[in-house]
Structures are given as C-alpha cells and as structure tokens.
C-alpha cells in the first residue's frame, strides 16, 4: 500500500511537536473527515528557521506532514510556497490513489502557516 519512505516518515516522523511562540501557524482539514494537520513556523527574516507539526490522521497524513517539514526547513518563504501537495507525495515515492485527495494536505497546511505569518506581520506593522 504505502512506500517504504511513507512508512519511514510515519514510524519516525520528523519535527513532531509545537513551537512555543511560533510566528506562523496553519491548520487544514477537520476531524469529521478524519484528517487535521497543524504546522508551526519559526520564521526569521525571510527564512524558515524551524518548523514543527501535529497531525490527526492516517498514515499518509502523518507522513506528508513529516515530509513537508523536512522539505521546508531552511528554505525561504517564497521557496516554501512553491511546494505543492503533489511534490510532497512525490518526495515520498508516491501515495495510493485513494490517499492523493483526502490525506495529502500537508503543503496546504504549510501555505496556511505562511499566510498566517504574513498576516501577523502586517498586524504588527
């Protein structure tokens, strides 16, 4: 069903947890449909210094969350915005067709977190 890479990220997820005083937080999904992903960002300047996640969901949901955090750490916000759900799935060696739609939302959560960061910055200004 899942690739080895998915299973690796599910079993040993990278960057699980919260960032206290995160300056960007994004959440997508809802418990009703079985997936919630929340991503915390620590942005300095234009660069993602640290990133963590918490996810309620299936194997694919956990693995994509973990993968996206690995992909963006150290990247600029603009680079991060270019990461799509499909790219995350690809980085994992692919996902089962049924999972491509319902559980492959990690990039969306990332983008939501970046959006949240920008909004917070605007408010500060």
């Amino acid at each position: 069903m899942y690739t080895e890479k998915v299973m690796d990220h599910f079993t040993n997820p990278r960057n699980v947890g919260e960032i206290e005083n995160a300056n960007g937080v994004g959440e997508v999904g809802n418990a009703k449909c079985g997936d919630i992903m929340r991503i915390y960002l620590d942005v300095e300047g234009d660069v993602i210094k640290d990133v963590k996640f918490k996810t309620f969901g299936c194997g694919a949901a956990v693995a994509t969350s973990s993968m996206v955090t690995e992909m963006v750490k150290g990247k600029t916000l603009d680079e991060a915005l270019e990461i799509s759900n499909a790219a995350v799935a690809e980085a994992l060696g692919g996902l089962p067709p049924a999972k491509m739609h319902c559980s492959n939302l990690a990039a969306d959560a990332l983008h939501a977190a970046i959006k949240d960061y920008h909004e917070k910055q605007e408010k500060k200004e």
């Binding site: 599910f10 992903m37 309620f56 299936c58 194997g59 999972k99």
Partner: protein, 395 residues
C-alpha cells in the same frame, strides 16, 4: 516477531484438516460432479455430503442448501432473486441501517430500479427493535432482509422475533448470518427464517464459497444462468473442493462452537476491560455480554485516527481492523458506527479486534501491553489531544 491475528471477522485461516481434505479433491478426486463416470460420481457424493454438513449446522434439510461463491453472492441471490420472483406481489423491502454492503448496496440497486426501501434505524448499541420493523411493514412489503449479528460491533439482533413477525405478515424473511455462523446457534426453523446467507471463509473454511438456505417452497429467481447446477438455482461448475471444505468447516464449527464461545468471550472481556483500564478517553461500541458476539471487541479511541492505529499495531505484528474511512479510501467512516449515533471524529478512531480459535491469553496480554504505547505516541502527535487535555485542565 510475534504475529497476532485479531481480524477473524474479515477472514480466517483455513483449518489444516479442512485444507488437507480439499487437497485430495484438487489433485486426485477432481471429477466434475455432473459427469457420469466414477471421477464425477465420487465428486458428486462428496458434494452431497458437504450439503448435509452445512444443513446440519443451521437446522435445515440438505435440499434447502444452495451453494454460491460466497456470502456476497448469497445476499444478492436472496434479495434480487426474491425481488424478481415477487415483484408482481409488491415492491417494498425493509432492511436496517447496519447491514453489510452486500445487503445495503443490493437494496439500493433495487431502490434505483423501482422498488421502495425502508431502512430501519438501530439504537446506540447497534440493535434493531422489533417495534420499528413492525412499523415499517406495509401491505406491499415482500422482503425483510437483515443480519443476525453485526460484523463491526458484534451486536446480535432479535431475529427470531422478527421472523415471527414476518411470518405473520406473509413476508419473506432473509437473514445474513455470515458473522454469527459457528459462533452462536442458528436454527432456521425455530427462528422462522426463509432465506439464510452463510459464508465459508469466516469459519475456517476456504474463501470463494458460501451458501443460501432457501426454505422449501420459497421462490427465488436465479441470478446466474447456465448448466442448471444446484437445481437450476445457481449455474456453473460446482467448486467441489471449496464446497467440501466448507462442509468440513461446518462440521468442525458445530463441534467447537460451545467451547470456543465460552473461551473467546472471556478473552473478549479481558481485552475490553484491559483497554478501558489502561487508556483514557475510550468508548466501547456495541452491546455487552450475551447480546454481543463472543469474539468481537470494538472500541473508539479518541483523538487518534484508525488507520494510524492499525499501521502501528501492524508494525508490532498485531492485525486488527477499523471503522475509519481512511482504511477504505472513502470519506465517511463506518456507516454502522454513525448509525449508532457516534460522531464522525470518534468513529474515525475506532478499532475492531475479532478473536479466533487460535488466539490465546498471551495474545491479549501482548495487545494490552502494546496498544497503550501506540495510543500515547499518536496522541502526542495529535492536535486534538492537546486541546482536550487543556480544556480539561481549564475546568
């Protein structure tokens, strides 16, 4: 690694005695039972012996047993065959909200093709009330189709009472006994059942074999046409090795049922109680005690999702199943759990353990040792758990 199989309601291993018997019919006694020669006759004889064994387990006459390719086909034959045979009499069918897809989808197909369907609800334990079935009956009701015991939560339905009701109203009564066969007693006569679906691979027989009991005198139109096997009720070269295996499995089930039920219900309760004790925020789904199949445990574990639980258990060698939508690739979790009133988020985190003949006390201990750790780990990752804990602390 220890491998603990706790998914016997999905399927069972074939009993070694059954498998050995089947081998003989695959490689030596391989005749087609329709053939005149001795290869054919020895196959035919074994086929009829299997029919007798199956009939005996459900209190039927051998001539009332029609073999099919499984429980799903038998359900289809019962429902669509009755609909075709009786459509002139009426076009209303009654079923329940917790049926297997083999019944629900088939009823819904009929609904799309001019039949009326009433889906009777269940209570929070997953049990149908006789009263609600009674209320659903109309003058044009031709069929009540429902299960004996539920595959997800193990709820045992009051089929004998509903059978009586159906009989009084002259309505054909079909019971899907795929999950109850070999686990609790079935008697088609005293339960007033007209059509009964059973399946081999849930009772340590081979996959790809099942049967429909058709009470003498009840008309069911065939669904598969051809050589006229099974008294024209189901054409196709008989799967003799499979059927013979099913027959043997029925015989063994009859011998083992009482002892297994007693032993497994103890293990079941140990597992349920152990989970409640060791993990917070859990909910047992389905009835307790005698209203529940002796081998079924179903529990919702809040703040975590079913597939994650399954994968984590699997990595430790434990095979279970879940009512999560994510395990089936659909969007909604188990229609059974929803029909029992569970909210989506709780239904998503449900786990089913179904015990079998080979499970031991040690298997249960192993699960009770591993499951809490898994839940802890997943809850650590879950954004919902924080919220709940914070909310509780805030109280």
């Amino acid at each position: 690694m220890r491998r603990v199989y706790l998914d016997h309601s999905a399927t069972t291993p074939v009993d070694p005695e059954v498998a050995a018997l089947m081998m003989t019919y695959y490689t030596e006694k391989y005749g087609n039972p329709s053939s005149v020669h001795s290869f054919g006759r020895e196959a035919k004889q074994a086929l009829e012996e299997a029919r007798r064994q199956v009939a005996e387990l459900i209190g039927a006459e051998p001539s009332e047993v029609t073999f099919t390719s499984g429980g799903t086909e038998a359900d289809n034959l019962a429902i669509l065959g009755t609909a075709e045979a009786l459509s002139k009499k009426g076009k209303h069918i009654i079923t329940t909200a917790v049926e297997h897809h083999a019944v629900l989808e088939t009823c819904e197909y009929l609904e799309k093709n001019g039949f009326d369907l009433t889906i009777v609800p269940v209570d929070e334990e997953g049990i149908v009330s006789v009263e609600s079935v009674k209320k659903a009956i109309r003058p044009d009701t031709i069929l009540i189709t429902m299960m004996h015991a539920n595959n997800e939560v193990g709820a045992i339905q009051p089929v004998a009472e509903i059978g009586k009701l159906a009989k009084e109203h002259g309505i054909v009564f079909h019971v899907d006994a795929v999950q109850s066969l070999g686990k609790i007693p079935i008697d088609v006569k005293t339960m007033a059942i007209d059509l009964l679906t059973i399946s081999s691979h849930k009772i340590y027989g081979p996959k790809g074999v099942g049967a429909l009991y058709i009470r003498k005198g009840v008309r069911v139109a065939p669904r598969i046409y051809g050589g006229g096997q099974e008294k024209k009720r189901r054409s196709g070269t008989e799967n003799t090795p499979g059927i013979i295996g099913f027959g043997k499995a029925c015989e063994l089930a009859g011998q083992r049922m009482a002892e297994d039920a007693q032993r497994l219900s103890k293990l079941r309760d140990k597992l349920m109680n152990g989970i409640i004790e060791k993990i917070d925020y859990v909910k047992i789904n389905g009835p307790l005690g005698d209203k529940r199949l002796p081998n079924n445990v179903n529990v919702s574990i809040q703040f975590v999702e079913g597939e994650s639980l399954l994968l984590s258990l699997d990595m430790l060698g434990i095979a279970a199943s879940s009512g999560s939508a994510c395990t089936s690739g659909s969007l909604d979790p188990s229609h059974v759990l929803l029909a029992m009133g569970l909210v989506h988020e709780i239904a998503h985190g449900s786990l089913r353990f179904t015990l079998g003949h080979q499970n031991t006390e040690e298997d249960i201990d192993y699960v009770l040792e591993q499951l809490p750790k898994i839940v802890d780990r997943l809850r650590m990752m879950s954004p919902l758990y924080d919220q709940a804990v914070h909310a509780k602390q805030a109280q």
